[in-house]
């Protein structure tokens, strides 16, 4: 039986904690002070993207572009888990070979070493989200995973388990 995983996380509107004693102004002041100390000021380059639906395989970005191994389907499932947990960016590779680098899924902003993402390694998925293109990279902010077919591309008989054979 294929592993099924569905995420219906939807963006929630920003809201203030009503129980907080801080006023709106003091919250903003505190945020400004904090950001000035740790360099997290909102960048001027922040952009609005395009709404898209992307269908393809959850792929390890490094293995896919390095060409050092066969990076698809069952043969690459284990390696893709290792790379995802190692913090290498995870992408969706569509049928045309486009790579969409995932920066968030639903409200989960953890795009590095996220076990939830690692569990989807080499799954065939269809997602809805926002596409942002910048300096040669297609970044994808996934709102929801509309479909997850699990691993459907059988490559291990031809390629073995990549990259070591076990």
């Amino acid at each position: 039986m294929l592993a099924k995983h569905r995420c219906d996380g939807k963006s929630r509107p920003f809201h203030l904690d009503e129980g907080s004693r801080m006023t709106i102004m003091s919250q903003w002041r505190a945020a400004l002070i904090v950001s000035s100390f740790i360099g997290m000021a909102v960048p001027a380059a922040a952009q609005d993207g395009m709404r898209v639906t992307v269908t393809g395989e959850i792929s390890d970005t490094w293995c896919t572009i390095s060409g050092l191994m066969f990076a698809k389907g069952t043969a690459h499932h284990q390696c893709a888990i290792w790379c995802a947990l190692g913090g290498i960016p995870v992408s969706i590779r569509d049928a045309k070979g486009n790579l969409y680098l995932i920066l968030k899924i639903g409200d989960d902003d953890d795009s590095a070493s996220n076990p939830r993402v690692a569990r989807m390694a080499t799954h065939e998925v269809s997602v809805d989200g926002e596409l942002l293109e910048r300096d040669g990279v297609k970044y994808l902010l996934v709102d929801r995973i509309a479909d997850d077919k699990g691993v459907i591309t059988m490559t291990h008989e031809e390629y073995g388990i990549q990259p070591f054979g076990n």
């Binding site: 592993a3 997290m40 069952t74 390696c79 960016p89």
Partner: protein, 174 residues
């Protein structure tokens, strides 16, 4: 004669200082790779692109990159450690300027940077980008191959199998 010796000495000093302060990136013969030193500010990708920011660049849970002086944003995807990214090497420099020596890979599908060495001081030496292993071993103990010893990876593989399909096992080796 004396002038020649002085020039020779100056050349030797230059050679030595160049060798210690500039780590030339090792070529991997990856299609579209180019050895470069990038100079820029360490930023969190989601914050940089969308203004969705978190304290300390996401505390190691978000993808990071370098914002160069010309406004170009380079995602830093890989470190020297097998199967590992560069976030542990970069996170301590959140919001700070660094120099990163490595391979810029301008694949038509995606442009990524593979960092091999980092320095915050232009006059200093590059530190090899190998922090992932140090941090991993601090959490999990020594291992020859971190990836085979990683508890989370082993949990996922035990649950779904090495091929990602429950009940489907690779053929035994002859």
């Amino acid at each position: 004669m004396k002038a020649l010796s002085t020039i020779r000495l100056a050349l030797m000093i230059f050679t030595v200082s160049s060798a210690t302060s500039s780590l030339a990136a090792e070529a991997w013969n990856i299609p579209h790779e180019k050895a470069v030193v990038l100079k820029g500010r360490v930023v969190d990708a989601l914050c940089q692109l969308k203004g969705r920011c978190a304290p300390d660049c996401g505390s190691g849970k978000r993808q990071l990159g370098l914002l160069l002086t010309d406004g170009t944003f380079r995602l830093v995807a890989k470190s020297n450690i097998d199967f590992a990214g560069s976030i542990p090497d970069l996170i301590g420099f959140c919001g700070k300027e660094i120099e990163a020596d490595g391979l810029l890979i301008e694949n038509p599908a995606i442009t990524l940077f593979f960092v091999q060495g980092i320095r915050a001081d232009a006059a200093g030496s590059f530190t090899p980008a190998e922090r992932f292993k140090t941090d991993w071993e601090a959490r999990n103990g020594k291992a020859e191959e971190w990836w085979r010893a990683d508890p989370e990876a082993n949990r996922i593989i035990a649950a779904d199998g090495p091929l990602g399909i429950k009940g489907l096992a690779p053929k035994p080796k002859p």
